[in-house]
Symmetry: C2
Subunit: 496 residues, 2 copies
Amino acid sequence: MAQSPALLFLLLFIFATKTIESTQIFFPRATHQSLIKQAKDPKLSIPYKTQFFPQLLDHFTFQPQSSKIFYQKYLINDHYWEHGAPIFVYTGNEGNIEWFAENTGFMLDIAPKFRALLVFIEHRFYGESLPFGKDSYKSAKTLGYLNSQQALADFAVLIQSLKKNLSSEASPVVVFGGSYGGMLAAWFRLKYPHVALGALASSAPILQFDDITPWTSFYDAVTQDFKDASQNCYEVIKGSWAELQAVSEQKGLAELSRSFRSCENLHSMYSARNWLWTAFVYTAMVNYPTEANFMMPLPAYPVREMCKIIDGFPPRATKLSRVVAAASLYYNYSRTEKCFKIENATDAHGLHGWDWQACTEMVMPMTCSKDSMFPPSTFDYKAFSEQCMRKYGVLPRPHWITTEFGGNRIEQVLKRFGSNIIFSNGMQDPWSRGRFQGKSFSEMKCEALSLFVFFFLEKNGTVMECPLRYKGAILLVSSLRRCVEKYISQHHSTGH
Amino acid sequence: MAQSPALLFLLLFIFATKTIESTQIFFPRATHQSLIKQAKDPKLSIPYKTQFFPQLLDHFTFQPQSSKIFYQKYLINDHYWEHGAPIFVYTGNEGNIEWFAENTGFMLDIAPKFRALLVFIEHRFYGESLPFGKDSYKSAKTLGYLNSQQALADFAVLIQSLKKNLSSEASPVVVFGGSYGGMLAAWFRLKYPHVALGALASSAPILQFDDITPWTSFYDAVTQDFKDASQNCYEVIKGSWAELQAVSEQKGLAELSRSFRSCENLHSMYSARNWLWTAFVYTAMVNYPTEANFMMPLPAYPVREMCKIIDGFPPRATKLSRVVAAASLYYNYSRTEKCFKIENATDAHGLHGWDWQACTEMVMPMTCSKDSMFPPSTFDYKAFSEQCMRKYGVLPRPHWITTEFGGNRIEQVLKRFGSNIIFSNGMQDPWSRGRFQGKSFSEMKCEALSLFVFFFLEKNGTVMECPLRYKGAILLVSSLRRCVEKYISQHHSTGH
């Protein structure tokens, strides 16, 4: 656990990025491959009991099939727990729950102090929590039940039932989550304040919807991270896309396959492009100041390391050879890969669920500006929705998330409504641009009536996110703990 | 409008009341008949434009059929409105929207002062807002989409779209509702604080679920209302049920039909019983201090008038003859009925939807204590759920409402979360026992950070509910208006 970064990430779904030169849409499949690897080999350093909860298929309709039961997985650790003490719940996101349990150190760190029960609930349609077993991903008819509101209702029902079964109805509940799980944690506190008295939402881009956050912001942030590491590195990456295109056109896919050390001959230049794209984006997302292994095994400050590789080539080396070498740091830091599965990466069930969510509710428009290190692109909603229709037979609902959960002028809304939500973000995290932009770190408040608490580490700080055992983050961690402590002591003094 | 009571009622669904002597379950059909009458003849004294909004069938799943569109009716009056001024929305309940628009004077009263737009949104599956047209009530397959969460989402989508179409996104929205509509208004502010900045929830028994409120409380309150009018009246009614049974057994249904002036021969003693029961319950619910015509045309203080009839009979008159005469005040105050349709009252579509809701989510257990004016009864959940299964093919979810919306220790929850919700209740209203029990009238607060505001008129006061043009309620009305005013001025000063 000591080396695991504690805060998590949204599985990226870069959709409908209509580049100027092409309408090819980028799906970072390679990532899924890496996730599957990890997911199949969870090394839980703390013993959790695995349980399954009989959950309703559809909380929001009462059709005959709505009452179908499926078994939702959750992990539970009562090692520190005392009856009546707090319950810390991780609101699982888009993957196997073990993966998130393994990578969420903060809950375990603070559990002894609070004598807290630890519960990690798997999100429906991920991991083993498959309402229709192997058929869960078959079509929109089954996938239709995969969405955030149903997931939140699952959490509420499970938590209430668990408290009842433990005869510990008065136990205060605090929810924790990172990335999409962080969005769920924040939304859970907003929608179910009677179930959870506080939420810690890490790296939760709840404002990445509609036009609340500029559409270029995500890739601007990635670009800035690389530019900050080295101006030359940025320029090489920016120039590499044209080279890639040229090599593909002039020398063909066979040559491209060799340059990329592809295990099989590539069928499309775009596979190679996506492979590079994925490496840069995910590395920016996991740019931890410590060696870590969340998405992939990576050294400390992997963006800097990638740029060192790019900058370290002899002067006449091509841009393409440099970026391929840099991307290989992401895919092969452990040096176990002899070649790369660039096309047709394995895609087991339970992990591509995010594509479905992005095609229905999680519509996060993203574009690349002309200054981006990626090729400039626009967001073509029509192409995107047509693609979703082709793929799943449903149309996206691009304004639903902001209607259901809000987002516009959220600061004003939360000022008069809601409390006990901690939004934490590292400012280098590409997702941080779609974050809740509340008060600065110095204005952090935990008072009983504080309406929200918001932290970030300054951009010029050495840490990006909050890796919990990294010493630069000690203040942050202890502040987080103090907040949770206050929520709970409020509860004990007032009954909630 | 001047004579209309302004605050509304829950259509009563007295279910699974297993009386000691019988398992017959009471459905107050006669009421539906009266509602249909009213609903068919709306006399809207203010001109509303009728509009239809293309609404999604299912907001919470993404199955292919979820995106089916139906047309949701709403009424709109922009007579007082200025661009950017507030929008007052009535969150429609279980009936035709015209009926609620006609009987909600407060919104119209305060509209000129606020230059407010008035919008009354019909609840899905009621009135003309039928997702499957005439087939809407066919089975659980269609009815499955009728529930409160879908209704709240409808309101949110419609309001957001309306504001956009009016190019008035910054208009503050306040929601209003009575009875079930009041529950919806309160829940709407809790779940959609980014859409509505305040709510006025009148007579909203949001705590009538699970075992939050004692199960006898509703009938205890009805009983108390009659007892307060006259102890003898209470005793006569209490004794009449045994007489009814005896007459039925000894003299038969033909004699019973004559006593009740039934248009057709009765087939069951229970029809007569339900007819009486309905009259007493609904009269207690509409015990206005002014002549009114909400459920039925009735004189001022109709409970007192009923008791005068009961007490005014010659000493040797039977209890049964007295209660039949008293009930006739409810059914025939206008003296237009030559006989009563006690069995097989017409039941048009759109009005028995409450039975479905009560069989699925709105499980409000109610029993009669031995001191009740009604026969003692228990709540037999098993019998109730079996009945729902037989009738609709679905089982109730008795704990769902409290999971989704809370209820237990709600005062503590709202203390730290939520704001700008006015709960108003008259203490004689039988539903008031399941109300939000917050601060007393004198402690009412409207301050920016007030967490909730709660009013009631003291039980020893002359008014029960808040009939808005009744002079005893002037203070209440002006306070309500001041609260709404504050919510809106907060909005103007801070952007929300």
